[in-house]
Amino acid sequence: MRPLVELNQVTFGFGAEPVLEDISLHLHPGQFAALVGPSGAGKTSLLKLILGVLQPTHGEVCIKGQALNGKPAPRVGYVPQLEAVDWNFPVTVAQAVLMGRIQRSGVWPWPGRKDKERLNAILEQLDIAELAGRHIRDLSGGQQQRVFLARALIADPELLVLDEPTTGVDMRTAENVLHMLGELNRQGITILISTHDLNTAAAHLPWVICINRRVIAQGPPEEVFTVETLNETYQGDMLVMHQDGMLFVQQKPHGHTYHDLFPHPVPGEVPAHRAESD
């Protein structure tokens, strides 16, 4: 099977310490994969190479067998980090989502009949139809994530790229976002996300890629998330636990706990009347 995304010995950045070095990756149609690694490991740069926004210094990036050579990747939906969005910008949910149709809609500034049909279908699908006229700031974190997911989906992508979709939202929202992505993946869309959250990746994704300038390991989480691999990726002291068929990853405290350093910390207090009423 021909891979949808192919990186052959890609290096990015100049000098003795390039941002990314000798990266070889394949993503097959229908795959759902997470890119994990510490801050500064080159996760965002790697996503941008695949999107065609950045160009490799060496090697090549191919989408469906075609080298990008400085052109944006075709049929790719991109969801940026929520933290990078200017929430005061005056756009409504519908206006933001319709930006994704830019290559397909006509010359007029207003949306056409087809644009509106697609918009309604996507908003229904993501369960945000009643929010179409709202300003993007007046939404919950999960709804905001759905708006930008809708903008990516309205372009009918074969590949969906999400930069840190679980950062900056609470645990339950993160869980919902990953379930939604799982559902889209079952409908046939290839998905690549970057994430800091190893435990969510382990629980929700069938394939993980550990990077820190180079690819350290790639494979199913139960094979890749080993103490050796994670120590190499995070340059730290990691702990891997298995419980109830799930896998948990934790950074070990730096050889000591708070109590080791401060045997008598300042205690907190539960207000008395609250305690009485209990």
Binding site: P72, Y78, F89, V91, I102, H135
Partner: protein, 281 residues
């Protein structure tokens, strides 16, 4: 009614008013993009730079629009290159290059005092300086820019909102940026006679931020800002005629007053709705 129409019997007032309405609408429209891109200072700076170009082109007997336009474009490129090639930030580069260009204009004027042309008009705006041919130029520039923004609306919106993401979706953002710089230079030159270089920045910013207070929708912000610009242009001209003050100043003061009123209305509305919520609780 007669009092309202009375000043229209003078040709200078007719020309001036048509030009002020067009320039008000034009600055209101492109001001939306200036404000949302955080480019307020470059609008202010470039108008000053163009003043230098205007004086030089007058002395050299070049065509005003060509000379000033070329000068403004070169200033924009110099700013761009300074920021790219040195450690200097954009605001500082704008401060150096545009002010030096403005100072060139001032120096030349003070050296050759025998100017026939009234450069007060270029500095502060003057309806007496607007001829029939100026009106045609302003109308032409306004129509051209309105058409460009109309047909580039989606690309401009996406680039203004998230340039990097727009690139992924196939928008050629560098091209959009260059086009917008040219639009801005053209608008500044067309507005110079009416508003004066020192006051153009306000006409770019105030209608846009007033419209922003009134709506959360991008398309409505475009319409409102254009309308506010056009209306303050019209009534600013009346004000200028009635109480005999410079046209640029009267338009800008009217815009500032409109902004103040809208701001006040908004905070009253907020107070009222907060109080209503409290009553319901």
């Amino acid at each position: 009614m007669e009092i309202l129409l009375e000043p229209f019997q003078f040709e200078f007032f007719r020309n001036g008013t048509i030009a002020a309405v067009l320039v008000g609408a034009l600055c209101g429209l492109i001001g939306v993009y200036i404000v949302l891109r955080g480019m307020s200072y470059i609008g202010h700076g470039l108008s000053h730079a163009i003043f230098g170009g205007a004086v030089v082109s007058y002395l050299m007997a070049w065509n005003f629009y060509l000379g000033a336009g070329l000068w403004g474009f070169i200033a924009a490129i110099l700013i761009n290159q300074t920021v790219r090639r040195t450690k200097i930030n954009a605001d500082a580069a704008i401060g150096v290059i545009t002010t030096a260009s403005f100072a060139t204009g001032v120096a030349l004027i003070s050296r050759y005092r025998h100017f026939n042309r009234n450069f007060d008009a270029a500095l502060f705006g003057n309806i007496l300086g607007v001829s029939q041919s100026d009106v045609w130029v302003v109308a032409g520039v306004t129509l051209m820019i309105a058409a460009i923004i109309f047909f580039m609306y989606k690309q401009l919106l996406f680039t203004t909102f998230q340039a990097e993401v727009a690139e992924v979706y196939g928008v050629k953002t560098q091209w959009v940026d260059t086009l917008f710089a040219l639009i801005l230079a053209a608008a500044l030159i067309a507005s110079m006679q009416i508003l004066g270089v020192t006051l153009i920045a306000a006409a770019l910013i105030i209608p846009a931020i007033t419209a922003r207070l009134l709506t959360d929708s991008f398309s409505r912000m475009n319409l409102l800002s254009t309308m506010i610009g056009a209306l303050t242009g019209l009534f600013g001209m009346y004000l200028s005629y009635t109480i005999d003050i410079a046209s640029g100043a009267s338009i800008v003061l009217l815009q500032a007053a409109t902004f103040g009123v809208v701001l006040l209305m908004m905070s009253i509305q907020k107070q009222v709705s907060r109080r209503l919520v409290n009553i319901h609780v």
